[in-house]
Amino acid sequence: MNIAKPLTINPFEIRRIIIEQSMRAHVGHIGSALSIADIIAVLYGSVLQIPNPDNPDRDRFILSKGHAALALYAALFLKGWLSEAELNTYCADGSLLGVHPECALKGIDFCSGSLGQGLPIGTGAALAAKLQRSLRRVYVLVSDAECNEGSLWEAVMFAAHHRLSNLVTVVDLNGQQALGYTNQVLDLSPLVQRWQAFGWDVHEVDGHNVEEMKKMITDLDTLSGLPHVLIARTVFGKGVSYMENQIKWHYWPMSEDEYRQAIEEINMA
């Protein structure tokens, strides 16, 4: 990747699509998708080496927090791998674009939606690349609440033991989960030290600062050493004032008035 180049994907475009499609389909999970818009923009706008989605030696990406798939669909659309007509089928009958990603859709490497499965799969994909002596990398985006899952830590241990330096995990640390704040449901702290104790190369980052994230990922040594994790501090619902840090926007769909305000705020940002 060329660090000097600007992102080919504008995170505000991702946010605009999230808001428009959520309104059109009248579905929720808006706050979770907005939370990762900047991370997705960095990955798809700079980091991921994907000549085309069918290339077997492409980098792999797993959106383990599958409920935020709309942010990913937006990126696939902005990359030109998904047509506008296809994007407009989001959550429609017969569409491949459900709330959670399906690998039958071009550009989706693995199905996700059940939390705690993405990192084990990504670890296998990273091991495969090492065995095949390929330089491709594997990126897995997990939610912070997903760190409740024991299976995630099974994979964390394996990746460290086998020194899968080509594996990059991003934790979307927005501090919220479906029914409450993470520090009230099942406290994750000290999350950085936990990953460090499991033998990973840990970095803290502002999950809305695209330049900082891009530089941090660019500087990772993915050829040798430890697997990497970015603990990305994010704001749930980022970009829409009334959604930010509000539990109800995990599931809630927007009303017409709420939509107008959201799109206005996104456009003004």
């Binding site: 077997p56 792999r60 690998c103 490497d109 693995f110 199905c111 939606g113 059940s114 705690g116 499965q117 990192l119 084990p120 799969i121 990504g122 670890t123 296998g124 994909a125 990273a126 091991l127 495969a128 690349a129 065995l131 095949q132 594997v138 024991g150 299976s151 099974e154 994979a155 241990m157 394996f158």
Partner: protein, 305 residues
């Protein structure tokens, strides 16, 4: 079976570098031939069965054919949702090898028994489910299935000595295997308990009862056409399996009988209740569930009356 299975896998792995073997820290005195020969292609992932299936999913998508090994309940039940969402929904060539179907782990107790594995996997349309009757059939079933595009589950026993006379290792996906012909009643078996059924058929013959015996090792896809044909010739049929009543062979045969309005009566010889905590050898547990040959003989004679 498991010893023969691993040795056969070594043969396949010699000419296909896509084959990997992963274990969840089990397979002492079973996996060594592969582990020693292919040190770079063998992974003990530790006691972590969810990760075991997850890893295999990622490996398979990249072009490998990963075999994952554990004892039946740990290979199937612990990571069941990983199996569903990974290799089944994504149709990836993962091979799940479960050792110890039924009561093969004897005194190890209920946690180690495999009594519902076939049931929970055969309800998933996208996975091939194979339960060999002896080690020869374990070998041939591996030889014809290792390169299938989708996932496969192998339910293996530990016995590498006993063979089912007349089976000669025959296996075909979606077909039954005929062991012996008969005219009075039909016995259908699945897995290593077939050797008990063979003895029961011999005992029945001595008492003048002509009992046919067939093996179903391909539980998914089910051998529906073969079953319809053979069931149509009998008024009484016994299914024999070291598996719960529901979900396994008896359920499969009852589905075929009901859907095709076949005029035969089904007697399911299977495990009736959840283990109570009483332990014992495999033989003891089979007897406790009326699955030993002399009990099968008695059940058949009673049904003939």
């Amino acid at each position: 079976m498991r010893g023969t299975f691993i040795k056969t896998l070594v043969e396949i792995a010699e000419y296909d570098p896509r084959i990997l073997l992963l274990t969840g820290d089990l397979g002492y005195m079973a996996v060594e031939p592969f582990a020693e020969k292919f040190k770079q292609r063998f992974f003990n992932v530790g006691v972590a069965e969810q990760n075991l299936i997850g890893l295999a999913t990622g490996l398979a998508e990249s072009g490998f054919i990963p075999f994952v090994y554990s004892i039946v309940p740990f290979a199937v039940l612990r990571p069941y949702e990983f199996i569903r969402n990974g290799p089944i929904l994504q149709q990836l060539p993962i091979r799940i090898v479960g050792t110890g179907g039924g009561f093969e782990y004897g005194v190890n107790g209920a946690s180690h028994y495999g009594l519902e594995d076939v049931g929970v996997l055969r309800i998933q349309p996208g996975i091939t489910v194979i339960a060999p009757a002896d080690y020869e059939q374990a070998r041939t079933s591996l030889l014809v299935s290792w390169n299938l595009p989708g996932p496969v589950y192998y339910r293996l026993g530990k016995d590498d000595q006993t063979i089912v006379p007349g089976l000669s290792g025959q296996f075909e996906i979606g077909r039954v295997q005929h062991i012996s012909n008969g005219t009075d009643l039909l016995m259908i078996t699945m897995g290593s308990i077939t050797s008990e059924a063979v003895k029961a058929v011999e005992a029945l013959a001595k008492q003048g009862v002509s009992c046919a015996l067939i093996v179903v090792a391909s539980m998914n896809p089910a051998p529906n056409t073969d079953l319809i044909k053979v069931l149509s010739s009998f008024r009484i049929v016994l299914t024999v399996e070291a598996h719960y009543f529901v979900g396994g062979l008896g359920s499969l045969v009852s589905e075929v009988i009901a859907e095709n309005s076949l005029p035969c009566r089904l007697v399911r010889c299977a495990v009736k209740t959840t283990p109570t905590g009483i332990t014992g050898s495999q033989d003891y547990m089979l007897r406790l569930n009326s699955l030993k040959s002399e009990q099968l003989t008695a059940i058949a004679l009673k049904e003939m009356q």
